[in-house]
Amino acid sequence: MPSIPSSVVDADNECLIGGASEAFLCRRAFWNRVAAWLLFTAAAASVLVTLGIVYVLIRDSIPFFEQVPLSEFLTDTQWTPVFKNARFGVMTLVSATLTVAAIALVVAIPAGLGLAIFLSEYANPKLREAVKPFLELLEGVPTVVYGFFALLFLTPMLQTVIPGLSGFNLLAPGLVMGIMILPYTASVSEDAMRSVPMGLREAGYALGFSRFRVAAQVVIPAALSGITAAFILGMSRAVGETMVVAIAAGQNPNFGFDPLEGAATITAYIVQMAMGDLPHGSIAYQSVFAAGLVLFLITLLFNLIGFYLRRRFREVY
């Protein structure tokens, strides 16, 4: 044992390091290890749950794909799993899903971008802090409320302007979903814009740019990948959103991209099947998992693109 200067050995001859006893240091190391293990368990649990979901989706889809060839699944334009002559063209559901998501983006991109520009480039800190709670409020509204808002308020209102609009349609839930993802896309875009270094803005102002020109020609191009990521992640939310479409878009699987007609999205179909009493192990039951797998893959794809872009925009400067 290395010799210890007398100054660090106390009256009871207990070893001291920087004033701390050995017992104290041991306890500290022990609790440090406990904390690390607890945190690791929490992290591992979320990964395991995700893997478990993927496992169940794949496991229950396999018998489905043993009966329905993948080519039919991807190319057929009919989705009638409970009919006698059942057809499984998942594109029917995908078309409605993408139509709603696209309408949502048409609302969310201009409004979200405008809001983000305003908050990041125009609003003073006080105003910004005053506006943000309202955005969070918008984000906290339960989706079922948005769904009934689309069905009972927006659709009748739109019908006075668009006479051909069905009671169930893709337009109203799309618009409402645009408002729903707006807080998220706006705040992520704003983060991207605010992380643009001040020096870049100063370069624009020094050339005689106006505030708007600085926003449009300097800040947005510099934050573009972050902004794109915000909208892709917003789109992935819209694709996975369930309540609004289940309530306001109807449950008829129709292939097509007409926003004036009602059509079941992937999520709406899953909800519909989950609420009915399907015999366990039937092909219709398995089709829920196949549809879920498709949904999972679509959102996964969007999320991967979004996260890739988000990571990239940090490396620009």
């Binding site: 740019f209 020609q217 191009p221």
Partner: protein
């Protein structure tokens, strides 16, 4: 030119009689009276300028001249207010709340106080290059064209002509001509800084402000920028802030020394460095302070 200006310049000139004639290449004004020593034209003149960052009084009654087509260097220790002074010239402080000016920066020949002008108008006339290269996330061409476009230059051939001229002016043309439409971020740090100089030069500003333009660069890139400034001398009015005294001595015609928000000394560079009038300047340039 107004009389008051002329007297000031004459006073300035009297100080320089011992140095070799520094104004050989100065433009003569048509209406100028014959003078025993040809007076240089002023581009701007700071008169009793005060500046506050909130409650902090950072510039205290600063007065100095900016001579047309000459390089004026502002030197001093960190925190002496030299960058603050420079950023008054293009009203950069107006971008942030709580800043306040008092005094004048007269812009010649029209003799207007730029502190009272619209900041956007001021910045259309006075270009700036910053400490850290800050090209826009666009192509090299679009970076240089940005200042032209905002001034309404839109014709494609005219833009190309002016962009080429500016890139040549910033000694970047040979390196950039084959990659004009590539991203500016592909350039090295020194090239990016020369691109920023080209961007500032393209609209032909009345005054070019340089805020420690080489402090983020390696010695070779620094030497290139210094060479460039030597070439620009006599064609562009430059005000440069630098913490590098040798740089100020090498490239400037006039030098101002600042200390704690005050302008301690201003004069012909050679005189400031060889026979400084103030002991403070002497301490700084001999390395006893700062």
């Amino acid at each position: 030119m107004r009389n008051s200006t002329k007297t000031r310049v004459k006073l300035l000139m009297n100080e320089m009689t011992s140095s070799p004639h520094p104004f050989g290449a100065t433009r003569q004004r048509q209406d100028a009276q014959p003078e025993p020593v040809s007076a240089p034209a002023l581009r701007a003149e700071v008169r009793n300028l005060d500046f506050w960052y909130g409650a902090t009084h950072t510039l205290k009654s600063v007065s100095m001249a900016v001579v047309d087509c000459k390089v004026t260097a502002v030197i001093g220790a960190s925190g002496c207010g030299k960058s603050t002074l420079l950023r008054c010239f293009n009203r950069m402080h107006d971008l942030y709340p709580g800043n306040r000016y008092a005094g004048e920066i007269q812009l010649y020949p029209e003799d207007r106080n730029l502190i009272e002008m619209d900041p956007g108008m001021v910045r259309l006339r006075i270009g700036m290059v910053f400490q850290k290269p800050n090209p826009f996330p666009k192509s090299i061409f679009e970076n240089v064209a940005a200042g032209l476009r905002v001034r309404g230059v839109n014709g494609k051939s005219l833009l190309y002509e002016r962009v080429e001229q500016a890139l040549r002016g910033a000694a970047l043309w040979d390196e950039a001509k084959d990659r004009l439409h590539d991203s500016a971020y592909g350039l090295s740090g020194g090239q990016q800084q020369r691109l920023c100089i080209a961007r500032a030069l393209a609209p032909q500003p009345d005054i070019l402000l340089l805020d420690e333009p080489t402090s983020a660069l390696d010695p070779i890139a620094t030497a290139k920028i210094e060479d460039l400034l030597t070439v620009l001398r006599n064609t562009v009015t430059v005000v440069i802030v630098t913490h590098n005294m040798q740089q100020a001595a090498r490239i400037s015609d006039f030098t101002a020394y600042m200390h704690l928000g005050k302008l301690v000394e201003y004069g012909v560079t050679e005189k400031v460095f060889t026979t400084p009038q103030s002991p403070l300047t002497n301490d700084y340039i001999t390395g006893r302070f700062g």
